[in-house]
């Protein structure tokens, strides 16, 4: 169907964009490189190709525009008229005509310049010819750019027109502004038309779809029409007039009998009579809206007369269709879109009338006979004269009777609306609880108590069980009170024993600690074990103290130890030599000297002197492993020397291989004040 192609028209670019598109395409799709050394035919061909290519593109695009925009004569008169009303037929045709002329002009330009190019004799001349050709084509397009803009606007608006099928079942709603046409369409279809208190809220046609007897009906909402002479009507009203004029539809003329639209019934009746010519051959239903404000029966005399006149007109249309003049229930209907009263009835009446009319027309046409010949409705022949009515159970009949008699009960929904609506009111879900006592319905029960789930304890006979438990507990407590705590039988340690025990434990602890310290591991074991008591731990004083702590008189042991000490007796070697020296008078003088030395050496140094040597820095301590102080000092020197190199490199230790800064800037940059920088 042509009308649906309105959405498929390609976008019309503006003048500038158009030029840009075509020229950039030419640049991309044709070869770009050319040198003046090429053969002349090649140069000519190069530039001719560009000119022709550009002309072809322009031609294509402009033809597309001209073809896709609909020809107002070639589409359904409804759309033709609608487009004329909206866009002005002449203007539209002019625009398209301009596009057409532009196309032709561009074709001519291209032809001329190609002819000239055939005789171009240098690169420069060919190039200027091409530039001129392209330039002229672009100027043509620039000149029609207003038309292009206009066509683009039309295209956008056309794409948004409602998709109305002029040939299918349609219901048209018309009337004064603000009578309730859009509310009605909102009620019966899924259309979401704006409903506002001001006139001309609806500014264009709106389509909704509704169903009746398994058939789909289009419902068209029109903008309101005022009672004016035809020539004075504006575009919006002309839309609805066009729709009325061209579409074969059932017409619902809306009447606001309460007058709240701002127009009296007389005015509305006047409008009706002025456009009644448009209602020829269309099933017409007059709908009185807003009866919640003003019931039909309560209308004053003149208004009633006017309404009856309109009804008479409508009845005439039925007669024209061949219906019964008595059959006028479907002509004048009342409804209210506010209270939903009669809305469905109106829709059904309109759909029914339209359907009947269409069926009749189809029946009268010749084509129907082809269909009728093809099917046959079979009706079962009655066997005998016995009547067999449908069987309805008694209960159903009774239920139906009571259902009609019973009044509507109050729903939760109504309750919600009363109490402030959805956001404000929250339904009490506990209303219908079945409890032993109705006061308990709103009780809040704790679920958790002291780290227990209360539900785990709930039990109807919890009390009884608790009692049993307490009895048990009571019995047990009594039983325990009888038993006494006679673990110990009065056995206890005395004070003295306790003191001894603590002393024992303390000593044991110390022993264990010392052992742990002394324990031989690779880390703690020196390579050369110490024989000399550097810390002076094992002294006779200490021994004396400890023995007296044990309760023994230490003097004997101390004296013995002292008499046998190294200082009083000297070393074994020295002793034996000294012994010989005394006896051997036949020894030499040298040996005497040497003996003297030895003797001097073996004599012990006095306490004060020994302390001085030990206290002196770098002093000689016998247990360290050095022969004498000279050796010790040499050793220290060697140690310092070995560490010097590392320290200069700012290393933490022998394992520190980190180079903090491979190329410190101050060493590798800068000019020298004097001298050369050939090496750093």
């Amino acid at each position: 169907m042509v009308q649906y192609n309105f959405k498929k028209i390609t976008v019309v670019p503006s003048g500038k964009d158009f030029i840009d598109i075509i020229l950039s395409r030419t640049q991309r799709q044709t070869p770009t490189v050319v040198h003046k050394g090429y053969a002349i035919s090649r140069l000519r061909e190069f530039y001719m190709r560009k000119v022709k290519y550009t002309q072809q593109n322009f031609h294509e695009k402009l033809s597309a525009i001209i073809d896709e925009f609909p020809r107002l004569e070639g589409i359904h008169p409804f759309y033709g008229d609608l487009l004329h009303v909206l866009y002005n037929k002449d203007h539209y045709k002019l625009a398209l005509g301009q596009v057409n002329t532009a196309r032709n002009i561009i074709g001519k330009i291209a032809k001329d310049y190609v002819r000239l190019l055939k005789y171009g004799d240098s690169l420069y001349r060919c190039k200027s010819l091409k530039v001129a050709a392209l330039g002229r084509m672009c100027t043509v397009i620039k000149r029609i750019s207003p038309s292009l803009a206009y066509l683009e606007q039309i295209r956008q608006h056309m794409a948004r027109l409602p998709s109305i099928d002029p040939n299918t079942r349609t219901i048209l709603i018309c009337g004064y502004p603000n009578v309730g046409k859009s509310s009605f369409i909102n009620k019966i279809t899924r259309a979401d038309v704006d409903v506002q208190p001001y006139a001309f809220t609806t500014k264009s046609l709106f389509v909704g779809h509704t169903d009746y007897k398994y058939l789909r009906y289009q419902v068209i909402d029109t903008p309101g029409i005022l009672d004016r002479p035809f020539e004075d009507r504006n575009i919006i009203e002309m839309c609805s007039i066009t729709a009325l004029a061209h579409l074969k539809a059932a017409v619902l003329f809306f009447l606001d009998i309460s007058g709240s639209c701002g127009y009296s019934i007389a005015q509305q009746a006047a409008l009706f009579h002025s456009i009644k010519s448009l209602f020829m051959n269309k099933p017409l239903v007059i709908v009185c809206n807003k009866i919640d404000l003003q019931p039909l029966e309560a209308l004053p005399e003149e208004d009633m007369k006017l309404v009856m006149e309109m009804k008479a007109e409508a009845v005439k249309s039925i007669l024209a269709q061949g219906g019964d003049s008595k059959d006028d229930e479907g002509v004048l209907l009342t409804m209210s879109t506010m209270t939903d009263e009669g809305v469905i009835a109106v829709k059904n009446a309109a759909c029914e009338r339209l359907l009947n009319q269409r069926v009749e027309i189809k029946m009268k046409s010749k084509k129907i006979n082809d269909c009728l010949n093809r099917f046959h409705v079979a009706v079962p022949k009655p066997r005998d004269t016995k009547e067999r009515p449908p069987c309805i159970p008694q209960a159903v009949i009774e239920a139906r009777a009571t259902a009609n008699a019973k009044e509507k009960r109050k729903l939760e929904k109504d309750l919600e609306e009363e109490n402030g609506g959805a956001g404000v009111y929250s339904a009490s879900l506990r209303k219908h609880y079945l409890l032993a006592n109705d006061e308990w319905k709103e009780d809040v029960m704790p679920e958790i108590l002291d780290g227990h789930n209360v539900y785990d304890f709930v039990d109807p006979d919890i009390l009884q069980r608790l009692e049993e438990l307490e009895q048990e507990e009571g019995l047990r407590l009594e039983g325990e009170a009888v038993e006494e705590d006679f673990e110990m039988d009065g056995k206890e340690l005395t004070e003295e024993e306790k003191a001894l025990l603590s002393e024992i434990r303390r000593k044991k602890k110390l022993l264990i600690q010392e052992h742990r310290i002394k324990k031989s591991t690779a880390e703690s074991r020196p390579v050369v074990p110490r024989k000399f008591d550097k810390d002076r731990k094992y002294t006779t004083d200490r021994m004396g103290r400890e023995l007296s702590a044990l309760g023994i008189n230490p003097s004997a042991a101390v004296n013995r130890a002292r008499s046998r000490s190294l200082s009083t007796r000297g070393r074994k070697r020295d002793r034996s030599l000294a012994g010989q020296g005394e006896d051997g008078e036949a020894m030499d003088i040298d040996t005497e000297h040497s003996n003297k030395k030895l003797r001097v050496r073996s004599r012990s140094i006095s306490a004060s002197r020994s302390r001085a040597i030990i206290a002196a820095p770098g002093g000689f301590t016998p247990g360290e492993g050095f022969r004498d102080i000279v050796q010790k000092q040499q050793a220290l020197k060697i140690a310092k020397k070995s560490v010097r190199h590392r320290n200069k490199a700012a290393c933490k230790g022998e394992g520190d291989r980190v180079i903090p800064n491979l190329k410190p800037k101050h060493l590798f940059s800068g000019k020298r004040g004097k001298g050369k920088t050939t090496r750093r």
Binding site: Y433, L435, W440, M445, G451, V458, D459, I462, N553
Partner: protein, 165 residues
């Protein structure tokens, strides 16, 4: 809302704490904190991990069989609400708690019962064995303070022989 038990350590999980892990066989494991969760992921057996309730119950450190536990049981049949029953239940919970706590304390006391006697015996043996560290043995104490050093007698027999010769 329900207070659940941690699968690993059996402590109560309050709302807003812990993680629940649902395995592919639809078994739900609830954990009270990431410590238990991580232990579970390491595939540790709670019966072997000292600080869990499972270990303690298994090794008899805590009370296992008691009638107070019978009163707290997850019942799957919902009871119709009755205010009086609820009130009584709430009071009963407190009393049951007290009794249970008292019984657990008794259990722990029973466990620690023999400690004093054992300690006493250990102290006595230690005293006997290690008394030497602080007290000298009796004979040494009674010995007088005489100089028991040996007397040295110089024997000059070879000299005499020499001189003789």
């Amino acid at each position: 809302m329900r207070l659940e038990k941690c699968w690993f350590c059996s402590s109560t999980i309050y709302p807003g704490h812990g993680i629940q892990f649902v395995r592919n066989d639809a078994k739900i494991f609830r954990f009270c904190r990431s410590k238990c969760h991580k232990n579970f992921k390491m595939k540790r057996n709670p019966r072997k991990v000292k600080w869990t309730k499972a270990y303690r119950l298994l090794h008899g450190k805590d009370m296992t069989k008691d009638s107070t536990f019978e009163l707290e049981r997850k019942r799957n049949r919902p009871e119709r609400y009755d205010r009086n029953v609820t009130e009584k239940t709430l009071q009963a919970i407190k009393k049951i708690d007290k009794i249970r706590v008292a019984r657990e304390a008794r259990h722990h006391a029973m466990r620690f019962k023999g400690k004093k006697a054992m300690e006493h015996r250990a102290a006595i043996t230690e005293l006997e064995k290690s008394i030497d560290l602080v007290k000298a043995p009796a004979p040494l104490l009674q010995a007088p303070q005489e100089d028991t050093a040996k007397l040295k007698v110089k024997v000059s027999q070879p000299e005499a022989e020499f001189m003789e010769e």
